[in-house]
Every structure is written in C-alpha cells, then in structure tokens.
Amino acid sequence: MRSKILGLVGIAIIVVSLVVVFVISRAAAQGAPKWINQDGDWAAGKATLQAFGERFPTSEAMFDALKKAANGGKPPTWAQMGEPAFDWSGVYTRSKPSLQYDLDLPPEGGPDSAKLTPAGQAVVKTKADQLARTGGEYDPLSDCRPPGTPRWFSEPFLKEWVVTPNQTWLMNEMVNVIRRVYTDGRGHTNEEDAYPSWNGDTIGFWDGDILVAHTKDLMKGQYQRGVQPNYSEKTTVVERWHKVDPKTLQADVWVFDSVNLAKPWYTRQSWTKLTDDEKLLRLRYWDCRENDNNKIVVNKDGTSQFPGFTFVPKEGAQNNAK
C-alpha cells in the first residue's frame, strides 16, 4: 500500500514538474508579458513593459521575437469580425483629454518617462527656453500638414478603426490620416524602394486577439507641442493593440530612436468609444483652406499669429511674421 502511494506521489511530482517546465519554457519562448490591465498596480505593470522593450537592441528584434512567440500569428477570419474582440466599430477619442504623449504624465510636467540621449535632452531644453522666453511657439501642424507617427497617438480628436483579416485601418479625423497595418503576411517595403513618410510603413500580425504592428520609414517630427521630445527618421515603433472592454481600445507602444532616446520609450495609449445615441458624430474632412481665418504664420520670435481676418476691414499682413 505504502509503495503504491509513494508511486502515485512520484508520478504526481513528475507530472507537476513537466507542467511547470512546459509553462516556464512557453513563457520564455513567448518573452512578452501577457496583456496587463491598468486596474491593478499600473506603475509595476508599466515598469515590466518598459523593461521588456529594453531587452531588445532594435524594434525589429522585438517584433520578430513577438512574432516567433505567436508562431507567426494567425489572422482572424471574416466570420470572426463580429466578435467583440475584433469589433472596433464606433467613434473613439483619447481616453484622457491630454496633449501629453505619455498619458500617465500630468499636464504640468516634462517628458519624465522618456530616457533621452544628450541630443534629445538638448531639444527639450531648447523648447523650454523658447517657451520661457516668448510664452509661445509655432506648431508646424498649424498649416494642416499631418501629425505623423508617433505624434499620431497624442492627437485628441476623433478616431475610427476598420479591422479586416488582411489590413487594419487606424483613422484620425485630424488631417484625414489613415494608418494602414498590413496583416496579410507581407514584409516591409524593400530597402531600395523605401523612403520616409508621415506614417511610415506598417506591417503586423494577430496574436490571438492582439494586433502586433511594426512601423519604420518615418519622417522626423515631435511627439507634441510644449516641451515634448522630437523623433528622428531613425524612429521605429512596435505596437500591441487590444480591445480591453466594450468601450476601450488600448495599445502598448514602444518607440525606438537612437538619436533622441537612450532607451525605447514605452507608453500605454488608450481610446474610449464615445456615446453617440443620435449618430451625430462624423470624422469630417480637414483642410485649412476651408476658412481663411484659420491661416497661421510663424512670428520672428518663433511664436504663432493670425496674419489677417476676413471680418476685419482692410486687414493685411501687417504683423511681424517672417
């Protein structure tokens, strides 16, 4: 009897050990933390996700590891499009009305979560000095050029999403931008055909109900106005998109930029589905030429100004614009 019990215990130990080894090895293979909700200790969760990004020398290595862990990924079928995880329908906006690229940062503060290179710090200091000296600035977007990516994440206007098995469209009302994430198995644009553009070139795959994306070939820009850092044409981005509840879509975003960032900058971006019972909300076309009163020019001191108004008689370019 005793030997039987010992035998069963031994078998149980072996089975448990095998399960533990399997789970650990699978976790190691996956590498990435599972989706971390923000309803717990988010500071710890954010640190985990920041550290995960820092394990990789490049965004390409990170994306490849995530893809390998997902066994290459598997696109959803058209039949799955109606499932809650893939139904991203509705009109969304940023979950907090903030112009901070990192939503966790208070409005009255600098980009403290970004680990900047000396060059990146110098850019921030120059912006701070400009604002301290003049009380203002000029935003290149004032002429309706696109925000570009990664700034795209920090814009507060309406957003819509279209998920299909082969492509996902991420649309921002501001300046009519559509980011296309190709999930049909294609790679990035060939090196000889690639060039920098506002939103770059984005490919991705589905790891269950998480859309993983990689973006490269971006134009340089700034994360937002104020004292937020710049990003260079070396910038690349890894994103993990997930619908966390019926009204919330979130993305883990790691930005790699050897010019401005000493380490990848991890942030959790979030959008909330707006209540629109009357179906009034629309993403409408943006063009600064719609209204001459919306023309903005840059002053000699680097601040912004209206050059003239249609409602003021005999108005002309009488300001001190460049």
Binding site: E108, G110, K125, K127, L131, A132, E155, D287, N293, F306
Partner: protein, 130 residues
C-alpha cells in the same frame, strides 16, 4: 535633467494644458485675461480645423465692430452640444473670450450665452470623454 529644467518645463507645459487650441498654439491669445461682449451673430463659420463665431458688437459711439471668436471644429463642437443651427445670423448673444494680445477684435471662445433662452455654450466641453 528634471531638476535643471523644472521651472521652464512647468512654465512651458502650461502652454499645452487643456483646454487649449489643440491644433495650433494659443500663443496669440491672452493667457488669462477675458473679455465679455454683447451683440448679434453675423455668421457662424462651422469649419475645420476651427470654427469662428462672428458677432457684431455696437460700441458706445454706435459704431459696429465685428468680433471673431475661435473654437474647435465641427466634431468637437458637436461633442460640446453646439450645433450650427444654434447661432443663426441675428441671434443675440453675450460672449466671453480670451482676447488677442495685439488688440485686434478676435478672441478664443470661452463661453457664449444665447439671450433668448440663457443657454450657455462652452466649446471646451467638446473634449470631455463620455
């Protein structure tokens, strides 16, 4: 870096704090000073990226000046409960805004009260997440 830049950063961050012009810098407007005027709507330009409410204001000398009040575009205005039909030409209003630093008759629209029903319209409410 934080300790070296804390003062200028704190000052600078206020330049992007909400509610502000989310599409262009609001540097041309007074940061805190407000002006309140009464008049009648001349035109409501419901346009992207910014809307303009033009209001004819009669001065003490009887001279009429057209003031322009800038707000966000139609989507944000809709979210704030402000519709094009709310301000047809001739509608009497009392409107408060942050005026231009250079003295021209324009301002950032803070709130407008329609005289006929005392309803208050605040464009900044268009960024509320609900």
């Amino acid at each position: 870096m934080r300790s070296r830049f804390i003062l200028p950063l704190a000052f600078a961050a206020s330049a992007i704090a909400f509610p502000a012009m989310a599409h262009h810098s609001g540097a041309m407007f007074e940061p805190t000073k407000e002006v309140t005027l009464s008049g009648v709507v001349k035109e409501f330009q419901f346009t992207n990226p910014h809307s303009w409410l033009l209001v004819d204001v009669k001065g003490p000398d009887g001279k009429v000046t057209t003031w322009g009040f800038e707000a966000e575009g139609p989507s944000s205005m809709t979210r704030a409960g402000i519709r094009l039909k709310d301000f047809t030409p001739g509608t009497p209003v009392t409107i408060t805004g942050r005026p231009m630093k250079d003295g021209r008759p324009a301002a950032l629209w803070v709130k407008a009260t329609r005289t006929s029903d005392n309803r208050v319209f605040v464009p900044a409410r268009g960024f509320a997440v609900k």
